[in-house]
Symmetry: C2
Subunit: 431 residues, 2 copies
Amino acid sequence: MKKINIGLIGFGNVGSGVVKILRERKSFLCEKIGLEIEIKKICDKDTASRRNVSIDHKLLTKEARDVINDPQIDIIVELIGGIHPAKEYIAESLKKGKNVVTANKALLAEEGKELFALARDRGKNIYFEASVCAGIPIIKSLREGLVANRFSSIFGIVNGTSNFILSQMSGNDCEFSHALKKARAEGFAEKDPTLDIEGMDSAHKLILLVYLCFGRMVSMEDIFIEGVSRISLADVNYAKELGLEIKLLAIAKKEAGELEVRVHPTMIPSKHLLASVNGIFNAIYVSSDLAGDLLFYGPGAGQLSAASGVVSDLVDAAHNIQAGLFKPTLNIGLDKSIRKLRKIDEIESRYYIRFMAVDRPGVLAKVSSVLSRFGISIASVTQKERRRSKIVPIVMVIHGAKEKNLRLALESIDRLDSIKEKSVAIRIEEV
Amino acid sequence: MKKINIGLIGFGNVGSGVVKILRERKSFLCEKIGLEIEIKKICDKDTASRRNVSIDHKLLTKEARDVINDPQIDIIVELIGGIHPAKEYIAESLKKGKNVVTANKALLAEEGKELFALARDRGKNIYFEASVCAGIPIIKSLREGLVANRFSSIFGIVNGTSNFILSQMSGNDCEFSHALKKARAEGFAEKDPTLDIEGMDSAHKLILLVYLCFGRMVSMEDIFIEGVSRISLADVNYAKELGLEIKLLAIAKKEAGELEVRVHPTMIPSKHLLASVNGIFNAIYVSSDLAGDLLFYGPGAGQLSAASGVVSDLVDAAHNIQAGLFKPTLNIGLDKSIRKLRKIDEIESRYYIRFMAVDRPGVLAKVSSVLSRFGISIASVTQKERRRSKIVPIVMVIHGAKEKNLRLALESIDRLDSIKEKSVAIRIEEV
């Protein structure tokens, strides 16, 4: 049986999961794929700590070049994360004629353009299934399963931490801070959860999804990003009364030749499948022109789930190497119907708005008149329960309005005497 | 650019969709995949009728052998459906050294063992993405994306007609016959809907899913099959009161070395994602040991959706041919932990049961005593509204019981004087 040698850079959580699978399922995989995938070298700064898998210590090295320069190694698996030196390791590996498997979404999102171009130049591939939603085969599905399709939109719940927090708030009636504490206690939030809760991690994944669906690499600056940290329990509950659920969505939408790319808390109908995606689960809802609306759902993180994605890439890479197959395009096609990216100011959306107003006659008239001045029309309005403080929440749903107009209107409204807190605005998507 | 020639047998609904895509997206596909897929010949009994795509009439033939025997053709696409002569065409194509793409679930479910073995012998592949859930890339996901996983269960809503009917009953409060009428009016049910509503179509798809997940081809006789035609609106509504929804599920479950394979109306918790899969949509919920619980959702039928699946197979086949890649195993592994198939009598399940009883004291005592005699314990019981006829429905949920015991108990209960109709039993799955 033909043997494909691989080298691993990064023997942490996912790395040891990959080693575990390749070792413990060796014969299962060999029988299935008709090839043997052999771990030739493993690099990690820490070669001393125990992992949950036993390996021959001779495989270990602290020096990445030992792996990259080994002429017997066909595939380099990069699992150290971060931009540097991961980028350099991948670039050097490609230059040495090796194919690369990585789960490094931040790196590909930020430096992918350069790395994908380099791979193409060298006739090699970068495989990255585990970089988006771990073991959910979303990348393979978009690249291969849906190869004939054109896409019109992507709505993704792609950050487990944020989704866990929002699910806790909604399901257990607790405030953000309490939900975050719970996420930490359960190991679903990092010590510094900023990347997750402020939407950057979702934006990284969105960049890769947009690349797969529309053939272009957008940059972080192109994406409007807003996280979940300012979502209050009150809004979660008012949304529910309106038949809506709040989710942090990574959104890409094509409309009239323009592409919108954004990450923000979004209200969606409670009946939509995405509204039932709870806890650390991820889901991606894509609209394609042939295969229709599709949803891919599963755990978006976890050692073995991510390792499952990495191993599927390894199998593909190994098969392609065995066949001498050269797939420089990665089955990715440029959507030429997109003329430009739409700036956030130009995006039109329905909104949920909450004003905190003094409870006296005439406030609603003032607020409405400002909205109307900016051409914004109200779909529904409810004044919520009175509080002792005489400050009452007014919840409004407005019809489609341009982001810019809404922003200006809210600035104007927030200057009114009778408005006592910064108004809250959350976008509503029909999905 | 390398050209791969294909021949199409069957120029009906899906066939013309495939031709449409290959023609209208020629350059889009070429750029994406680095290959040209050229339609060399098209066979259909009817070469006269117009399709929604214009083609060169010289491509058309009424004789399948013109396609199969053409030495320039690399891939045969079989889209005529049915067992004969589709089986013979595929077998001849494989013997002629051609790869085959088909959407013919009935054929593969019933004759797949022989055809897959023939393909393996000849070093060729049969691709069949569109045979299960049309354009949802479930086959690719199970075979390739989840290649490293072992599976413990599959729960599939894989028949759009049945799901449409059940959704109508549940959503519009109508009886089966009315819902079927609606399905017919909307083009979602065939003139003779038996295959769909009696579960055979679901069983065909289950056979293929079981093959992909567990590596063995079960036969139709191995599967317990019950359709949706006897579901009454009353049970749909009583289920709702219990927080349950009725779906026609194709189920494969591994337990203690035994595999259960069955298709039947099933009550599942209303909060489960599968309960929100409505209308003609399909969804497959699989439990894997590495990537966890996954759901794949989308339209399960439709010309372009099925054609999307066929074209993705064509691209894979074309890439593999270009590379000379020989993948006889289809990435399918035998799950050796399965010792045998579990007979339906041995299956243990929770049940919803409805008895139609005379409204007089002592009936419940009699019923309970029969159940207890068979070792069946009751989880909850509700007597529903009285009717003028003095026959009242008693709705029970029972704890896990063996199918055989339940059947015997119900036979015994149905012989009681006070029971006036055949009792209804519907399995409940926790999923």
